[in-house]
Amino acid sequence: MKPTPGRPPLPQRAALQRGLLLALWALVLLRSSADGRLDLLLRAAFHPLVALAGLLLLALALVQLRLGLVDAAAAAERASRRQGLVLLVTAALSLAVIVLPPAPSFADLAAQRPGDDTAQEDLSFVLPPAQRSLTDWVRLLRSQPDPDLFAGDPVRISGFVLPMAGEPPQIARLLVRCCLADAAPVGLPVRWPGPPPPPDQWLRLEGRMAVTSSADGRQLVVLPSRIERIARPARPLEP
């Protein structure tokens, strides 16, 4: 690259613009790591990778900014119009991501996805009934499909209200292997004592398991004795 005589003003230096852009992406990743939104978007295994990538991008941004100020060749490079456009779009986008945190409707998302159908042939360890999460219950019922085995067991679970076509809403959770894009719902039928709560409402249910007969055969249903409305938990996704 042939250096142009003299240095362009600071806002027009390509290296400084690159540094600013990289810093914006770093901010997106670091802010996402810090404000807890990753719990809503990604499986926990990926969280350290996001934070590490944010730190690396920040380091790269600082190097670029330093080059734009100190290095003669880098400081002489004038930003192209295209780079200015990239700067504007990236700035708008990263600010939008930072300012508008994700607020997905789990019920809406789950309604469009087939339920998780992971076969779990044998469970090596089974928690006592009152300690089982909703996901534990669903997996246990898959490995031991006889509903009579669990009739009368105490239940203490939490989840969101998932509307079901042609039947009462279930209490459900989303399972995620990678990110929200692959979320799949798992749910348990509930015999609601009154009118069912609105979709997406998070609830904590305490009660017992009961067996009901339907056209599909005998199935387990949660008989709640206590229903408590709760805020969405900090980590709503399950692995």
């Binding site: 690259m1 042939k2 390509a14 290296a15 690159r18 540094g19 990289l22 992406w25 997106v28 990743l29 996402s32 939104r37 990753l38 809503l40 978007l41 990604l42 990926f46 990778l49 996001v50 590490l52 990538a53 690396l56 991008l57 790269l60 190097v63 670029q64 080059l67 290095d71 060749a73 880098a74 490079e77 780079q83 990239v86 779009v89 990236t90 986008l93 991501v97 508008l100 994700p102 607020a103 997905p104 409707s105 809406d108 998302l109 309604a111 469009q112 996805r113 087939p114 998780d116 159908d117 992971t118 076969a119 292997r177 990678c178 990110c179 929200l180 894009a181 692959d182 799949a184 997406d200």
Partner: protein
């Protein structure tokens, strides 16, 4: 279009983007390391240019340079810029997202009871990569690769490999310095004596490469998030039991869902029982080659014609492999 649905699309977009950005950065760092370790890319030019051995050697590089499909694009670009034979670079681009230790280990972890899948996935990926490389060889490089990539690539190639019509004014590609999409990265070979790029050059090139790819990734993630939100996935899985339809449906799902190849096996696990074995393999083969999230990134390497050929060729090959698996397993 309800606000709740838009909010869901926004969250999906953030999930896809934030998950993919670290992998993109890894790819750019590998690409920068390759530029630093092998200035001028002489070893790249020693890769075989044989129509079949070339893609095979490129595919084998996946074991050494583990990256999923997003990180793969900058590395494949670096291979092309460095002067690697086209077949080898395409073999890497299309097969390495599957043929790498992380992806094979995750496939094994997701399907430990299906040994046929552990063999069929890498073999299928190699078949698709070789098939695509053979198909894309039919198109002249000048019509296949994007202009700025082609210009940088010609700088790395010996004069004897560049046609007289493509040479410009004494110094090869003299007109493109600094003008390309990613700036003048591999510009040192013009004089015939490759030199190691300075750290400032390396940071400049790597930084610009990341920024341009990130913007394309954003477009891909936006597209994938919107399609995922407004097209119910249950539609695609209702045909799970039909041999051919199930393959086509799962290919479409792989295109739409756009998850990283290192975790797609776990996603496939959630519906494996509902679909035919050929459809399951088709999902695991097509997603790493092409999906909505990748379209923008691949557009940085390939002209629209090459991109369309890649989509059509990969779909056809994966459909044929899926059909064959269904004949064998059903």
């Amino acid at each position: 279009m309800s606000p709740a649905r838009l909010a869901t699309a926004w969250a999906l977009f953030q999930g896809l983007l934030i998950e993919a950005l670290p992998f993109l950065l890894i790819g750019v760092l590998i690409s920068a390391a390759a530029r630093w370790c092998a200035p001028g890319g002489q070893w790249l030019r020693r890769l075989p240019s044989h129509p079949v051995l070339g893609p095979l050697s490129g595919a084998a590089l996946g074991f050494a340079l583990p990256a999923c499909e997003c990180g793969n694009v900058p590395v494949a670009r670096q291979l092309l810029v460095g002067g690697a034979p086209l077949g080898a670079a395409l073999g890497f681009l299309f097969a390495a997202p599957v043929l790498n230790p992380i992806v094979l280990a995750s496939t094994w972890a997701a399907f430990p009871n299906q040994p046929w899948l552990l063999l069929a996935r890498p073999l299928g990926a190699v078949l698709v990569a070789v098939g695509l490389a053979l198909l894309l060889r039919l198109v002249p490089e000048a019509e296949l690769l994007q202009g700025d990539l082609l210009a940088e690539r010609r700088l790395a190639l010996p004069l004897s490999e560049v046609s007289l019509l493509e040479r410009r004014g004494g110094v090869l590609g003299g007109g493109v310095l600094g003008g390309g999409v990613l700036g003048g990265g591999a510009l040192t070979a013009a004089t015939g004596t490759p030199r190691r790029p300075s750290l400032a050059e390396l940071f400049r090139h790597g930084g610009q490469e990341f920024l341009n790819l990130a913007l394309l990734l954003v477009l891909g993630c936006l597209l994938a998030a919107l399609v995922q939100t407004f097209v119910p996935r249950t539609w695609l899985l209702t045909v799970g039991g039909a041999p051919t339809l199930s393959i086509l449906a799962l290919m479409l799902l792989a295109m739409v869902v756009s998850v990283c190849s290192s975790v797609d096996a776990f996603l496939a696990l959630s519906f494996a029982a509902q679909v035919t074995p050929g459809a399951l393999l088709a999902f695991l083969l097509l997603g790493p080659v092409i999906d909505l999230k990748l379209v923008g990134l691949l557009g940085l390497l390939l002209r629209p014609r090459g991109l369309l050929l890649t989509i059509a060729g990969a779909s056809l090959l994966v459909l044929l492999i899926g059909q064959w698996i269904n004949l064998w397993r059903l």
